[in-house]
Amino acid sequence: MGTDIKIDNELDVKGFVCPRPMVMTMNILKKMESGQTLKLIANDSSTKHSIPALCERAGYKLIEETDEGGEVTFIIQK
């Protein structure tokens, strides 16, 4: 994972099953300022589909997506 990305907010939704990771992420992103970054950690496999789809549709920048043993980390810039 890149170390030069400044993380403004962090959300750990491990253990939460669809739809809550998506809802929580949307709620947090809504409260963030434009340009801020969010580090999201999830272990529900549905997020691999839903989070990139959210970024694409809302115009958020998905800077990074890593998967380690089913634990997925996203870095999203609003």
């Binding site: 907010n9 939460f16 809802v23 809504k30 963030m32 496999s45 043993g69 089913g70």
Partner: protein, 465 residues
């Protein structure tokens, strides 16, 4: 470093097919193929039974309804015979209402939809292992279990009233029954209310926790009780490499495929080729669902929750492919009296009960985060919350299923088609196959457009708030 040659090509293919998530359309196509295969195997097994082969080897199109009863019966026996007795049977009910080839099953697991459920579970497990995605995840947040329990109860009751689950609705839509349209309408209404309930709960939760900026944004937002991944444990230091529990998962997945192939061959040799093929079709369904994260709960709920209708459109593609794919077997049943039942496979009685049940089921699956088939592949991924919802759903429905045989239940909740199943069969109602196909596909397209419109509205609201 990139590898070239056959090894490099194989690695790249493995990564694309088994490691990366599939696009939704691909998962829908594979699900349709397995659904059509299951319908074909069911038709073939009917022909074999009519010809005097093993009467217990009766495959059925993809579904879970009676499987809930049989698996629930097993769990109930473990719990000390809780609930009403159940009577697993094999048989075909001819269009005139006569029951042919009726046999009491020697083992509840021979009931084909019980095998379907296990097949989806198995397919999901193999897919998760091949992708190194299996992990036993135990949520420590009690609210997740409360959602699973309440969702499981609502789905259990709903499944009995609507005679099935969303997977049954796919088969029933392909089979062109009225019940399917009621199911789609009801599950949409239920998912709408379920989504509103989730939004309300999450708003309460967000306002209850101190997640306001403290100078450092929301970092770290660890105010939720975290999950506990009990296996495999990821190392604190990434330099330690993958733990063996992750590294060897693909090998275990391959071993399970070999065991399955060997077992199904053995099963075929002892007189159950149709059930073996039916299990294989269900395994493909589970595999495709896990790879594409295909989720009926997501498809019906998200247009009202987060504003996404991509999954519903994929489901619509699945529905349309099934309508077209089932057609040859249905036409075969319509011209061959011996195979008459193949024309009306998966058609069930309709009435207000189906609509009410679908609404309850829709609310339940929105809360639980998964319906029956979704729960099976997610259970196989190691999501313990989903286990709770699934067991609750199976137990509740198995306790209530015998009720649906009662005359009062049929008269009040499912009067249409109870005496003659063809009363709820669209080609019989319209008197024409082409009109029925056009009508069914038209309804699916209309519903997909409506869900897309709703999703646009929901997302616009989210962006503007």
């Amino acid at each position: 470093m990139e590898e070239f040659g056959i090894k490099g090509w194989l690695k790249s293919w493995y990564k694309q097919f088994f490691m990366q998530k599939w696009p939704l359309w691909r998962a829908a196509v594979y699900m349709a193929l397995s659904g059509i295969m299951a319908y074909g195997v069911a038709t073939w097994s009917l022909a074999r039974t009519v010809a005097g082969n093993n009467p217990y080897d009766q495959a059925k199109p993809l579904g879970t309804f009676l499987g809930l009863k049989e698996l629930g019966g097993i769990i109930n026996n473990w719990l000390g015979h809780i609930g009403l007795p159940h009577y697993p049977f094999a048989g075909y009910i001819w269009p005139d209402g006569t029951i042919n080839f009726f046999r009491q099953y020697p083992n509840p697991l021979l009931e084909p939809t019980a095998g379907t459920m296990l097949g989806i579970l198995f397919g999901g497990l193999v897919a998760a292992l091949l992708a190194k995605e299996f992990a036993l995840k135990v949520p420590l947040d009690k609210s997740e279990y409360l959602l699973a329990l309440s969702g499981g109860i609502l789905m259990g009751v709903g499944a009995v009233f609507m005679f099935g689950c969303p997977l049954v609705s796919t088969t029933n839509i392909g089979a062109m029954g009225i019940q399917a349209i009621e199911m789609v309408v009801g599950m949409t209404i239920g998912s709408f209310f379920g989504a509103k309930l989730i939004i309300w709960l999450e708003k309460r939760r967000l306002s209850a926790i101190a997640c306001k900026a403290d100078g450092a944004g929301y970092k770290p937002l660890m105010l939720f009780e975290k999950t506990k991944t009990i296996w495999p444990i990821l190392p604190e230091n990434a330099d330690g490499g993958e733990p063996w529990g992750i590294r060897y998962q693909p090998y275990l997945g391959c071993a399970l495929i070999l065991v399955m192939v060997f077992t199904l061959f053995r099963f075929s040799h002892i007189g159950y080729p149709a059930l073996a093929l039916s299990f294989a079709a269900a395994t493909l369904t589970g595999f495709a669902m896990q790879r594409g994260s295909m989720c009926f709960a997501y498809a019906y709920r998200e247009p009202f929750l987060s504003g996404f209708a991509d999954m519903f459109r994929a489901m619509a593609l699945l529905y349309i492919l099934l309508v077209l794919g089932f057609l040859p077997m249905k036409l075969l049943g319509s011209v061959n009296p011996d195979l008459a039942y193949a024309e009306i496979f998966a058609i069930s009685p309709a009435g207000i009960g189906v609509l009410l049940g679908a609404i309850l089921f829709g609310i339940g699956m929105a809360l639980n985060g998964a319906c029956v088939s979704d729960s099976l592949w997610r259970t196989a991924e190691g999501q313990v919350k989903i286990w709770v919802g699934l067991v609750t759903l199976i137990c509740v429905s198995s306790w209530l299923i015998p009720m649906r045989e009662a005359a009062w239940f049929k008269n009040i909740f499912a009067p249409y088609g109870s005496r003659n199943i063809r009363d709820v069969y669209l080609p019989q109602i319209f008197g024409s196959y082409p009109i029925s196909v056009a009508f069914t596909i038209g309804v699916i397209i209309f519903w997909a457009l409506m869900m897309t419109w709703f999703s646009g509205r929901t997302f616009k609201k989210y962006m503007e708030e």
